[in-house]
C-alpha cells in the first residue's frame, strides 16, 4: 500500500514536472498557443487579458492613490 502511495506521489510529481516544462524555453510561444488551442482555450484572448491585468496592477503600484483595478477586473476571465 505504501508503495502504491509512493508511486502515486511520484506520478503526481511527474504531472508537475511535465507541466513545469511549459514555463521554460522547452516550449516555444507557438507551442504554448497550440496547446491552449487544442484544449479549447483562446491564447490570444488570454494573453490580452493578462497584459491588461498586469498593466492595471503596475499602474496601481506606481500610482497607489489613483483609480484602483477592481476585483472584478483582476479576476475577469474568458469563457
Amino acid at each position: 500500500m505504501k508503495k502504491v502511495q509512493n508511486e502515486r506521489e511520484i506520478l503526481t510529481r511527474l504531472d508537475a514536472v511535465l507541466a513545469y516544462d511549459i514555463l521554460t524555453d522547452v516550449y516555444s510561444r507557438q507551442e504554448v498557443a497550440d496547446l491552449i488551442l487544442d484544449a479549447g482555450g483562446d491564447p490570444e484572448a488570454i494573453g490580452k487579458r493578462g497584459q491588461s491585468l498586469v498593466a492595471g496592477l503596475i499602474r496601481d503600484l506606481i500610482h497607489p492613490s489613483g483609480p484602483k483595478l477592481s476585483d472584478a477586473e483582476k479576476t475577469k476571465s474568458g469563457p
Binding site: I10, T24, D42, G47, R49, G50, K74, P79
Partner: protein, 185 residues
C-alpha cells in the same frame, strides 16, 4: 543543458506570454477539474500576489520568476481543489503493469476508466517516451538524469516529455468527456 525560463527575466517581461504560460500551467495542474476560466483566475491571482509582494520587484533580475510563479500557482491550485493530502489527481495512475522495462495495457481494462492502459497504448513503440515514464515511476524525474539513463541527448528527453504532456492531456479530456456522458445518463 537546463531549460531557461522563457522571457521571464529582466525588465522586458512579456506579460501576455507569461500569463498564457501560467494559465496553461494552472490548467494542467488542475487535472480533471481543469477549466480555462478557473485556470486564468488562478494565474491572475498568482501574478497579483507576485506584484503585490513588496520585497519581490527589487530582486526581479535575480529571481527565478517561473519557479516563483509556479509555486504560487501550485498553492492556489491546492486550495482550489481542496485536497490537502493528495493534491491533484495524476493523469497517470500508480497501477502501471511493468515488466522488463515495458509498459503493458491491462487486459480487459476499459481504456478511459484506466488511464494507464490508454497511456501504455499510446507510448508503445516510442522508446524514449516509455523510458521517461518508467524512469519517472522509479522516481527519476530530472531531465538530465533521464537522458543519461536513456543514453540520448537531453533535447530528445524534452521532446518526449512534450509528447507525453499532449498524451496525458488527451487522456484527461477523454476521461472527463466519458464521466460527463455517464453523469448525464
Amino acid at each position: 543543458m537546463k531549460p531557461k525560463p522563457h522571457s521571464f527575466q529582466g525588465d522586458d517581461i512579456e506579460w501576455a506570454e507569461v500569463f498564457c504560460r501560467l494559465t496553461l500551467f494552472a490548467f494542467e495542474r488542475l487535472g480533471p477539474a481543469a477549466a480555462w476560466a478557473r485556470a486564468e483566475q488562478i494565474a491572475s491571482h498568482a501574478i497579483s500576489a507576485f506584484l503585490a509582494a513588496e520585497a519581490v520587484p527589487p530582486q526581479i533580475a535575480d529571481l527565478n520568476l517561473a519557479r516563483h510563479l509556479a509555486e504560487l500557482v501550485e498553492g492556489l491550485v491546492h486550495e482550489a481543489l481542496s485536497e490537502p493530502l493528495s493534491g491533484p489527481e495524476p493523469v497517470l495512475r500508480a497501477s502501471a503493469d511493468r515488466d522488463g522495462g515495458t509498459l503493458h495495457p491491462r487486459s480487459g481494462a476499459s481504456e478511459f476508466r484506466d488511464p494507464i492502459s490508454a497511456l501504455a497504448k499510446q507510448v508503445a513503440g516510442d522508446r524514449i517516451m516509455e523510458g521517461v515514464v518508467l524512469l519517472s515511476l522509479d522516481g527519476i524525474l530530472d531531465a538530465s538524469a533521464q537522458a543519461a539513463f536513456l543514453v540520448v541527448p537531453i533535447i530528445e528527453v524534452y521532446e518526449a516529455r512534450k509528447r507525453l504532456l499532449r498524451i496525458t492531456a488527451r487522456i484527461r479530456t477523454e476521461n472527463k468527456r466519458s464521466r460527463d456522458e455517464e453523469s448525464s445518463k
